[in-house]
């Protein structure tokens, strides 16, 4: 908005203090970037050759080698199973966690903090880190992968479901209590029906994410297509690696299409 003084003055987009703040912010950002660039332990010659190296890598991948397609597809199916079974388990385990970590349903303070602790540790530790741990425990293979994805998913599903429980309409709960229903019946009739849509949406979303995550489990030995990819890369069999990458790409795209379809049908 123009005021009277401004008519004679030069036009400025920002007031002087605003400008100083902006310069300060720019300077700070610049300093951080400068620090990150100059102190990182990078061999700079490698940076300049990187584009060539990458182009070279892709050149060696072409054309993709489909000879092992059968076994690649069967491992891909294993990957889908890891993601699906883990999602299934995570959904079941996340239900009680969501219940105790929602403020309006948790039995007491202690359970609330227990629930939040489970959510935070599950969510902040990446699937790959969980996988490292479970490979050490269960040995390499699909069990470690399933358990790792389950552990990571509990926090994700539990958090979103817990928030849905906290946002429910209180009024049906009051009505059920007024009929003399006990705790479990109030949950069955007033709370569960209200969070069912969120439940399905979150489960489908997480399944989609888990499909992607399960493609990398094999790189730390936890089963699935990642193991084949690692094998191909370690033996410099780039054409086969290309086939694996294409298989992963199609898996992710098909998974996204399926989850979009399910979301539309169910919700």
């Amino acid at each position: 908005m123009p005021n009277k003084d401004a008519i004679n003055a030069q036009w400025h987009r920002y007031s002087p203090t605003q400008r100083m703040q902006r310069y300060g912010l720019f300077l700070l950002t610049g300093l951080i970037i400068g620090w990150a660039t100059t102190s990182i332990e990078v061999v700079w010659e490698w940076v300049w050759t990187a584009p060539n190296q990458i182009a070279d890598l892709f050149a060696r991948m072409a054309p993709p080698d489909p000879r092992n397609l059968d076994s690649i597809l069967s491992v891909l199916w294993e990957t889908v199973n890891i993601a699906t079974i883990a999602t299934f388990l995570a959904v079941l385990l996340a239900l009680p966690v969501a219940y105790i970590s929602a403020q309006n349903t948790t039995p007491n303070r202690a359970t609330l903090w227990l629930g939040r602790f489970i959510l935070v540790s599950s969510r902040s530790i990446n699937t790959i880190i969980w996988a490292l741990l479970f490979v050490a425990i269960f040995g390499p293979g699909v069990v470690a992968g399933i358990v790792a994805i389950t552990f990571r998913s509990i926090g994700f599903i539990g958090k979103l479901l817990g928030e849905a429980i906290e946002e429910i309409d209180r009024r049906p709960v009051e009505a059920m209590e007024a009929t003399g229903a006990g705790r479990s019946k109030v949950v069955l009739y007033a709370i569960i029906p209200q969070v069912v849509p969120t439940f399905w949406a979150v489960a489908i979303l997480r399944w989609d994410i888990n499909l992607r995550e399960s493609t990398v489990l094999g790189l730390v030995g936890a089963g699935g297509i990642g193991m084949v990819l690692q094998g191909a890369i370690d033996t410099f069999n780039w054409p086969e690696a290309a086939t694996v990458l294409l298989a992963i790409l199609s898996l992710v795209i098909i998974g996204e299409a399926i989850s979009a379809f399910l979301r539309q049908r169910i919700i």
Binding site: E174, A175, K185, Y189, Q194
Partner: protein, 263 residues
């Protein structure tokens, strides 16, 4: 018979919402409670079924002291106290039948509640009551597909499914348009007579209170300051109950509140 004596409710250290309040309801009376917003009507009603915890005083329903109950005994007392709400308080995503059967939750087992295998007698009774109020054909519809008046009918049937000894209605018509609101009042009145059921209704609309109830209780600042037959509610009494509330508000609180609530 409901006997309330010395009932006080305060939240934290604040002013009491109900202070030392006495009220008796005998036989199958329809009693309306009027008063401006914040007079404590809602709190009073919710103390009777302990949705709100009274601070002190005594509430006896058919000689049973309600205030000292807990756990199973409290739930058994609640199932004999039906309640109808301003916002209907239905579970939107469940069918009308499930909402109606929710009134039996205090009677049936958790397994029956979970599996929706309700006792045949309950289903029979539900159909009879739903037919009585004209919603039987909606049994398998989801509750959120019904209109406001129909939803409140579901609310009423749910409360009656409890086979209550008393029916508490908290602004049952405040979310409805004037015509529907009258229909619900007529329904409550005739059902109360048919079932010989005492009814307490919190209500904003004084005209409705006068027309459909036998006794009017006026509340102000958590106290009862008027308690008589509707014909005795004169301008002076009205002024005592609502003084400080602008005249325009007295007439329009009803509809505007409903509209806002519904929006």
């Amino acid at each position: 018979m409901l006997e309330i004596s010395g009932l006080t409710k305060r939240y934290g250290d604040g002013e009491p919402v109900l202070s030392n309040l006495d009220l008796n309801v005998k036989g199958q009376n329809i009693v309306s409670i009027i008063g401006s917003s914040g007079a404590g009507k809602s709190t009073l009603l919710r103390c009777i079924n302990r949705l709100v915890e009274p601070s002190s005083g005594s509430i006896k329903l058919n000689s049973l002291e309600i205030t000292s109950l807990s756990g199973k005994a409290l739930r058994e007392a609640r199932r004999k106290t039906g309640m109808v709400f301003q916002g209907f308080n239905l579970v939107d995503r469940l069918t009308v039948m499930e909402n109606v059967q929710a009134g039996r939750l205090g009677y049936i087992s958790t397994w029956q509640a979970l599996s929706r295998r309700y006792p045949q007698a309950d289903i029979q009774r539900a159909y009879e009551l739903m037919e009585r109020v004209g919603i039987a054909h909606y049994a398998n519809q989801r509750a959120d597909q019904l209109s406001g008046g129909e939803r409140q009918r579901v609310g009423v049937v749910r409360a009656l499914m409890q086979e209550p000894d008393i029916l508490l209605c908290d602004e049952p018509t405040a979310s409805l348009d004037p015509r529907t609101s009258e229909q619900i009042m007529v329904l409550l009145r005739t059902l109360a007579e048919e079932l010989a059921l005492p009814v307490i209704i919190n209500i904003h609309n004084v005209a409705e209170a006068k027309e459909y109830t036998d006794r009017i209780v006026g509340m102000r600042f958590g106290k009862i300051i008027f308690d008589d037959v509707p014909t005795s509610l004169d301008d002076k009494a009205m002024n005592d109950i609502y003084s400080g509330t602008p005249a325009s508000d007295r007439l329009s609180t009803e509809t505007t509140q409903g509209a806002v609530h519904h929006a």
